[in-house]
């Protein structure tokens, strides 16, 4: 069930340049099930910024009623969020959307988790849950450059982890797709979240595989009521049928919607 709650900040830290890790506490953690869901945050009580901000859930600690997000302080809303301190509250609406189907990867199978930039965070909870289920995980993480790399160690603890940076200042120079091809990584299921060009490339490269992609779109309501975040479906690319990223997604099976 979707809840709205003033959650208290447990901790906040800058873990890479402009990249913040934020942990909140609240009852609505009980409602969080699938990795890949997101929350919609109202950052300030005043009307500027006005709208909520969608941020993925990157780690769920059910026992403590806590969850963690990792976000980039980018525009006004996230910059304000990054100034908040432990004890401050954030107005959270969530959990929202449908996440990654973890049971598509069976125990003993291999899942490839491919993330780009701030698309990486939801893959962390996903990886945790897959590992718990006995799935073998491989992570391929892409960043712009060394100064914004985060969570490499955390992912490494869960499984094989490769890092690419666009400018080559860390890990392999290039894109995540380069790593997958160069290393001839094989898998049973692919899960990915990141910039659209990356998702498109993955979709095209693995037409015959089980691939799940998490999409991003500018949102109004975040709950499916405003039609802001709509995309065409794969089987009716110019027609009337549609999916809403916020409530039907953000995770879709490759091919289900038009990227």
């Amino acid at each position: 069930m979707i809840k709205k709650e003033l959650c208290q900040i447990v901790s906040q830290a800058e873990i890479a340049e402009h990249i913040f890790m934020l942990t909140l506490q609240g009852e609505l953690v009980r409602e969080m099930n699938e990795p890949g869901q997101f929350v919609h945050l109202k950052i300030a009580q005043h009307f500027e910024p006005l709208l909520r901000r969608p941020i993925s859930i990157s780690d769920i600690q059910k026992d403590k009623n806590q969850f963690t997000m990792i976000y980039r302080a980018e525009g006004r809303g996230t910059a304000l969020l990054s100034e908040k301190k432990p004890g401050d509250v954030v107005d959270v609406l969530g959990p929202l959307g449908n996440g990654f189907p973890i049971h598509e990867a069976k125990p003993g199978e291999t899942a490839l988790l491919v993330g780009g930039g701030i698309g990486i965070p939801p893959l962390f909870e996903l990886s945790k849950q897959l590992v718990k289920q006995g799935v073998n995980v491989i992570h391929v993480l892409g960043f712009q450059s060394a100064n914004v790399v985060f969570y490499e160690d955390e992912f490494t603890k869960l499984g094989e982890t490769y890092v690419a940076t666009v400018d080559g200042s860390y890990g392999t120079k290039g894109f995540v797709t380069n790593i997958i091809e160069d290393r001839k990584l094989t898998f049973d299921v692919l899960y990915s979240c990141g910039p659209t060009p990356m998702l498109k490339a993955l979709e095209n490269n693995y037409l015959d595989k089980k691939v799940y992609l998490s999409l991003e779109e500018r949102m109004g309501c975040g709950i499916g009521a405003c039609f802001a975040c709509v995309c065409h479906t794969g089987d009716d690319p110019t027609g009337y049928t549609y999916k809403k990223v916020c409530s039907d997604g953000p995770v879709f099976k490759a091919g289900e919607v038009l990227l």
Partner: protein, 305 residues
């Protein structure tokens, strides 16, 4: 809650608060959050004759104390609304106001004729003011004669009272209001969004794929208040006011300006519980301001005493 009960043409309402069209879909999502029967009415998403996919994304952009949208009237079309959405909504004890849109006269007439037959549709809201539809659309809302004519034709086929939704993007709003009054409108809803644009600093291009969009939210409230203040003194139709309403205080400001009911749009995205919250807070505010009934507030800014 007696102090909130009101009657407008076609509408007997527990209270004068309703979600604005396009900001509440057909109610399904919000029904997971609260009981829709609490609402005074529901203005459902614009319905067109044929299904519409709407505009490419991005369809929304934030502005200071406001937002732009260019949804482009996406909706499942008349048939589906009649067969699926309205019957589903019938489980709630709440009158529906159906927002009717189109790109030509015949569309409006066809939709109005059919949708006004639905048992839970108690009124129509004639959307002659959507700034995001390319063909025709906007013209209906800016040329008095055209608006009057359309109103008349829709009135002829509708089985329920019709409220005409006015566009604020005009030189003379009173002229538009009088025209639709002449055309036989039973009420007015105002305002729709102001046409606006935001440009992305990095790309240099408009954020919205549609380039322009409709500006809503607290930013536009003073414009809406001014227009309702003007129009309510010059026509004798009841007005459902909207534009940036976020609180019970805002509702009273709309009443003082001349409104007889109030719709809440963008605020539903900021706080999905805003409608029930306002409904809960209103009676105490009405009492504190010294009124027995909220309708006493209508037009106080220009009435004597």
């Amino acid at each position: 809650m007696k102090s909130l009960q009101i009657s407008l043409p076609g509408l007997d309402m527990k209270n004068p608060i309703m979600p604005a069209s396009g900001c509440f879909g057909f109610g399904r999502e919000f029904s997971q959050l609260f009981d829709l029967s609490q609402l005074g009415a529901i203005m459902i998403k614009a319905t067109t004759y044929e299904p519409r996919f709407g505009n490419p994304t991005p369809r929304v952009a934030e502005t200071t104390a406001g937002m732009l949208n260019a949804i482009g009237l996406q909706n499942p079309g008349l048939e589906k609304v009649m067969n699926e959405e309205l019957p589903w909504l019938d489980q709630f004890d709440v009158p529906i106001i159906a927002n009717v849109a189109g790109s030509q006269e015949e569309d409006y007439i066809a939709v109005a004729k059919e949708i006004s037959k639905a048992s839970n549709v108690h009124a129509l809201e004639l959307n002659i003011s959507c700034p995001n539809v390319k063909i025709g659309g906007i013209a209906f809302g800016t040329i008095p004669e055209v608006a009057k004519d359309l109103t008349k034709k829709v009135k002829e086929v509708s089985e329920v009272p019709i409220y005409v939704k006015l566009s604020p993007n005009v030189t003379n709003i009173v002229e538009m209001a009088k025209a639709v009054e002449d055309g036989g409108a039973d009420g007015l809803t105002m305002i729709n969004t102001l046409v606006g644009m935001r440009i992305d600093l990095k790309s240099g291009k408009p954020i919205l794929a549609n380039k322009t969009g409709g500006l809503s939210g607290p930013a536009i409230k003073p414009v809406a208040i001014r227009m309702i203040h003007e129009v309510s003194q010059n026509v004798s139709l009841p007005i459902i006011g909207m534009g940036g309403v976020q609180s019970a205080e805002d509702v009273i400001e709309y009443y003082y300006a001349g409104a007889s009911a109030v719709a809440v749009g963008t605020a539903n995205f900021v706080d999905p519980f805003v409608c029930p919250t306002i409904i809960e807070e209103l009676p105490e505010l009405v009492r504190r301001l010294g009124f027995d009934h909220i309708s006493e507030c209508t037009g106080r800014s220009w009435k004597n005493g």
